[in-house]
């Protein structure tokens, strides 16, 4: 498929805008010298992901991303940054390793491999149009997937208790 054909579809333009925003913000997340900025850039990346999910008809997942990630997890990160007194001003010495090239090679290698594999496998296969099926999602979550669902709730409970146990100050000391 030619690029011109691809770009002719208006949805692909939207996709491109979102994807570029996500990529830009993701790169900021891993390179920013300000920790708070890195966390806020993750918000942009996640919002982009939510928008992609809306395009794919997965609106429930999209709003979960917004509520859980952007609403709760990022706040948790900001608290973590505050508590550990991570440097909030530009501080290249303490934020990154000096040896970036091995990491960059590994990352690019991973990307090249994955992109090659998916392109080989899918090529120009068109994506079916997204239809919102949130009602079905609810049904399936409480029938077919009800046991994994409950197990995941236990994982959350364990994490909750574990977090309390780990982070609490030992009364003896």
């Amino acid at each position: 498929m030619e690029l011109t054909d691809w770009i002719a579809d208006a949805r692909n333009v939207v996709f491109l805008v979102i994807a570029l925003a996500m990529l830009g913000s993701s790169v900021m997340v891993v390179t920013s010298r300000n920790v708070i900025h890195a966390a806020l850039m993750l918000v942009v990346a996640l919002a982009g992901a939510a928008a992609l999910f809306l395009m794919l008809g997965a609106e429930f997942v999209a709003w979960t991303i917004v509520l859980v990630y952007i609403g709760a997890v990022i706040v948790l990160f900001l608290f973590g940054i505050m508590i550990t007194r991570a440097p909030t001003k530009a501080d290249p010495v303490r934020l990154d390793h000096k040896r970036r090239w091995p990491a960059l090679i590994v990352a690019l290698g991973t990307f090249a491999t994955m992109a090659t594999v998916t392109t080989m496998a899918f090529g120009d296969t068109p994506m079916p149009d997204g239809v919102s099926r949130s009602g079905d999602l609810g049904d399936v979550l409480f029938t077919r997937f009800v046991i994994p669902f409950e197990v995941v709730s236990f994982v959350l409970l364990a994490a909750l208790i574990g977090g309390i146990v780990l982070a609490r100050k030992d009364p003896q000391t």
Binding site: A103, V106, G109, T110, F142, V146
Partner: protein
């Protein structure tokens, strides 16, 4: 009038129309508040009880006041017009199974609401004085409110699932309350024992609920009982086992033989707990469950055979535990065994098909047993000891406690015209009726046992009264009457113990019978239509005889009392004092054989058989090893091994610098390795 006619007829009543009942109006629609208010206030006590002026007691008392007022209002309305209402809300739907929370407002549950409310109100008021100065005062009232609330959840349940929720909550609350003084290890053990014995019996409850619920396809009582009324054949096939399993669950909570062992130990809790537990909550749950499912046991072709088991279990419980009460020195234990005995009466009544008689005894027993425990608590509060050998002569020091305890004892002994007389007589009459119908010889035997039980009851209560209140004071210090906050509840319950029996006088006033029959299904129970003067006379006579015998033995000065009380009948006394060795049987009967003969045999086998085989192998091995060691090992293999070892060591020294301990380097290696694997896989395929 049709209703009255059916209610008055003696015997099976299937086939009659269900009485016309009102839906209870607004009062019944809002009855869900009865279990909810105590549970909500329980959380309120936990969260900010300590900051309140009375440390959370006022919230607990408020909860019970609400339940009592609401319960009595419903009771009065039910007495007027008969209420049958069932409300429920759907909580969740999982597949085809619907989880519901509901509330039943019918004759049976209204009776329980009123009893829990009224007795609870008295006990909570009393507990303010009794628990004064306790270090976990607020927590105690939180758990106590939960205890009452859990019982109300159980009672209001329209389906078996909610019943189990309430059932287990009651168990949890009782665990917390029995172990209230957890600093003492024995109290912990008692709490654990109560919990575990109940859990074992709960297996029966669960099995029964599953059998019946799955067969009927619904866990709702109305659906199950309607299936019984329609003669559902699928249910009829499993009804015996389902009914038996449910009854086993009921045996655990209602402490029937052989699950009775937890109840006397439960005396480790504070006295108000014992009082409420024995009167209104917990132990009544089992009888309530049988009453709730009564048509299942009463209808031909269903679980009717379970009734024979029920009547035998009840008779064993009422007689055997009554005897144990005779030799207890701890006043609370005397009362505990007496409760067991009375629960045996209730079970016997249910087994004889007498729904009204069993629940009527539950009703009257709640008042006088609550009273007796509170009065005993008042005594314990004054003399700081549970043992009757430290009491005596308290009549002079504690006049109100004495009077109310006496009323409670007479009511329990079944003296005319106190409450216990009417309910016990009703049970005897039902047994007599049953023996001439489908009960046969068994019911006749049980009738004799029940009359003997009445004698024993009067006998041990006379002993308790004389040892506690007559003779000379044997304890230390100067006992004094309890404060008013404790004596007023005693007086209130004392009045109820006198008048509660008048709620059901066969042939004269049958109010209670009609109140309990206010349910959507026909109960089909037996109840007397007129006083059976012969039986009532016998019952009263044996009770008086028991009191006379007790008076003869124990109404002396302190020294003779003690001598009399320590008078031991050679064989019987050790058996009774050791509670028929049932606790020992559970501990040693199960553990013993494993520790004794089996262990000894294993040890012998180990020493002589296995050891000699092992020794023989050992000797041969040593011989062979010596050859191998000297020949091959020293010269050949060691050299090779040493070479490998040093090579590994050198290599390790060289390679250890790669394990830097820096996790990011490991992660980089991990991803690089994954990529290499994929690339290799792609090239190969």
């Amino acid at each position: 009038m049709v209703m009255l006619a059916t209610l008055f007829a003696l015997g099976e009543q299937t086939g009659h129309e269900v009485a016309q009942l009102s839906d209870g109006g607004v009062l019944a629609q809002w009855a869900w508040l009865i279990p909810v208010v105590p549970l909500v206030l329980m959380f309120a006590i936990v969260f900010f009880g300590k900051r309140l002026p009375m440390k959370g007691w006022e919230l607990a008392e408020g909860a019970m006041l609400f339940v009592a007022v609401y319960g009595v209002a419903l009771f009065a309305m039910n007495a007027n017009e008969g209420i049958n209402y069932e409300g429920s809300i759907e909580i969740a739907r999982i597949g085809s199974f619907t989880l519901e929370w509901g509330w039943v407002v019918d004759g049976l549950s209204i009776m329980m609401y009123a009893v829990v409310g009224v007795v609870g109100l008295a006990v909570f008021t009393y507990a303010k004085g009794y628990m004064k100065g306790d270090i976990r005062y607020t927590w105690f009232f939180a758990a106590f409110t939960m205890f009452a609330g859990a019982m109300l959840v159980l009672v209001s349940a329209p389906n078996l699932i909610q019943l189990i929720v309430g059932w287990e909550l009651v168990g949890l609350a009782s665990y917390l309350l029995i172990g209230h003084y957890w600093e003492d290890h024995a109290n912990n053990a008692a709490a654990t024992k109560a919990f575990l014995v109940n859990k074992i019996a709960d297996v029966g409850l669960f099995v029964g609920v599953i059998i019946i619920g799955v067969t009927v396809g619904s866990f709702r009582f109305t659906d199950i009982l309607n299936a019984v009324a329609d003669g559902d054949s699928a249910l009829a096939q499993v009804a015996f086992w389902g009914g038996l399993a449910l009854f086993i669950g009921a045996m655990g909570k209602s402490a029937q033989f052989p699950f009775h062992v937890w109840l006397p130990d439960a005396m480790a809790g504070p006295t108000p707990v014992s009082s409420l537990m024995h009167a209104a909550t917990m132990v009544t749950a089992g009888v309530y469950l049988v009453g709730r499912m009564f048509p299942l046991y009463q209808t031909d072709g269903f679980a009717i055979d379970v009734k024979a088991i029920m009547i035998v279990v009840g008779a064993l419980t009422l007689f055997l535990t009554g005897l144990i009460a005779l030799v207890q020195d701890d006043i609370k234990k005397v009362l505990a065994y007496s409760t067991l005995s009375q629960l045996g009466y209730m079970t016997v009544a249910m087994g004889a098909g007498a729904y009204t008689a069993g629940l009527f005894h539950l009703f009257t027993h709640a008042f006088f047993k609550g009273l007796l425990f509170l009065a005993a608590g008042s005594v314990i509060h004054a003399v700081h000891s549970n043992n009757m050998s430290d009491m005596g002569g308290l009549r002079k020091f504690m006049p109100w406690t004495y009077r109310t305890f006496l009323i409670g004892s007479l009511a329990l002994a079944g003296i005319f015209p106190l409450a216990g007389f009417w309910s016990k007589d009703e049970i005897l009459a039902s047994l007599s009726f049953d023996s001439s119908h489908d009960g046969g010889t068994l019911a006749m035997v049980v009738l004799v046992v029940a009359i003997a039980g009445a004698f024993i009851t009067a006998f041990y209560m006379a002993r308790a009264v004389y040892l506690t209140f007559f003779g000379e004071y044997k304890g230390h210090g100067h006992p004094h009457e309890s404060p008013r906050v404790m004596t007023y509840p005693l007086i209130g319950l004392g009045v109820l113990s006198i008048v509660a029996g008048f709620a059901n006088i066969p042939g004269v006033f049958t109010g209670f019978t009609q109140w309990l029959a206010a349910r959507p299904q026909v109960m089909g129970d037996h109840h007397a239509e007129a006083i059976n003067f012969a039986l009532a006379g016998i019952g009263l006579a044996v009770a008086l005889l028991g009191i006379a015998a007790g008076t003869r033995l124990w109404k002396r000065d302190a020294a003779t009392q003690q001598a009399r009380d320590t008078f031991r009948i050679p064989v019987l006394y050790p058996v009774l004092a050791n509670k028929y060795y049932i606790d020992d049987l559970y501990m040693k009967g199960v553990v013993g054989p494993i520790k004794g003969p089996i262990a000894r045999f294993t040890n012998w086998t180990n020493t002589y058989v296995i050891d000699s085989v092992v020794n023989a192998f050992g000797a041969v091995s040593v011989f062979l090893s010596r050859i191998v060691y000297q020949g091959m090992d020293q010269r050949g293999i060691d050299l090779a091994i040493n070479a490998v070892g040093s090579a590994t060591g050198e290599a390790g020294d060289a390679l250890r610098y790669t394990t830097s301990g820096k996790i990011q380097e490991y992660a980089a290696a991990l991803f690089a390795g994954a990529v290499l694997l994929v690339v290799g896989f792609l090239i190969l395929t």
